[in-house]
């Protein structure tokens, strides 16, 4: 069965410093992986996705993630945090069955300090 573990429930960075949100996955076959962001009292927005093409995936708002099969990781990074990046981030795996079911991690709250 597929699962994801987000290693940090809360990350705090200063504006202008790098962001690293960690995610490990478990899958019996090559997974599709996603990062979603949820701003306070808002819906979920797709940041980026990995579907077995390039292992370094670039997303919106300067975010990127690298798929590392040997480490079963899909960490999200951004070189320089902006105040507007403060939100909840979810690492997600798809079971790639014909149902398209997504399995969410527990979420990481990103705080950006001025």
């Amino acid at each position: 069965a597929q699962s994801v573990t987000q290693l940090d429930s809360h990350v705090s960075v200063s504006e202008g410093t790098p962001v690293l949100l960690r995610c490990n996955y478990s899958s019996s076959y090559s997974p599709s992986l996603f990062w979603y962001v949820q701003h306070p009292n808002k819906g979920l927005q797709l940041l980026l996705k990995y579907t077995s093409a390039a292992t370094l995936v670039k997303g919106i708002n300067g975010f990127e993630a690298e798929f590392k099969k040997s480490e079963t990781s899909f960490h999200l990074t951004k070189p320089s945090a902006h105040m507007s990046d403060a939100a909840e981030y979810f690492c997600v795996v798809s079971d790639r069955s014909n149902t398209g079911k997504l399995i969410f991690g527990q979420g990481t709250t990103l705080q950006v300090k001025p």
Binding site: S32, F34, Y36, Q38, K42, G43, L44, Q45, L46, K49, T51, E88, F90, S94, R96, S97, N98, T99, G100, K101, L102, I103, F104, Q106, G107
Partner: protein, 112 residues
Amino acid sequence: DTAVSQTPKYLVTQMGNDKSIKCEQNLGHDTMYWYKQDSKKFLKIMFSYNNKELIINETVPNRFSPKSPDKAHLNLHINSLELGDSAVYFCASSPNPGYGYTFGSGTRLTVV
């Protein structure tokens, strides 16, 4: 135009009542989903329909019943509401498995 729209955005109701949440997508996607987000922000799938056919029915109380009149609509009806049903319910759609979803903005249900 909103891609996936849910109504209402907020719903406050008393225990024991019956309520419905509506979802519509104008993306032409074949598959639609209902997810529940609890107070700890954990998201879990409830139901999925592919072109009006139920394909995912997770362990959800029978009080919850999805209905899909056509592939652009997926409604969620909840009978005999309980305090534990308070959550944010998200509708989503996808063109095909593994592609990722487009989410609606959510319906915050509060049962008092």
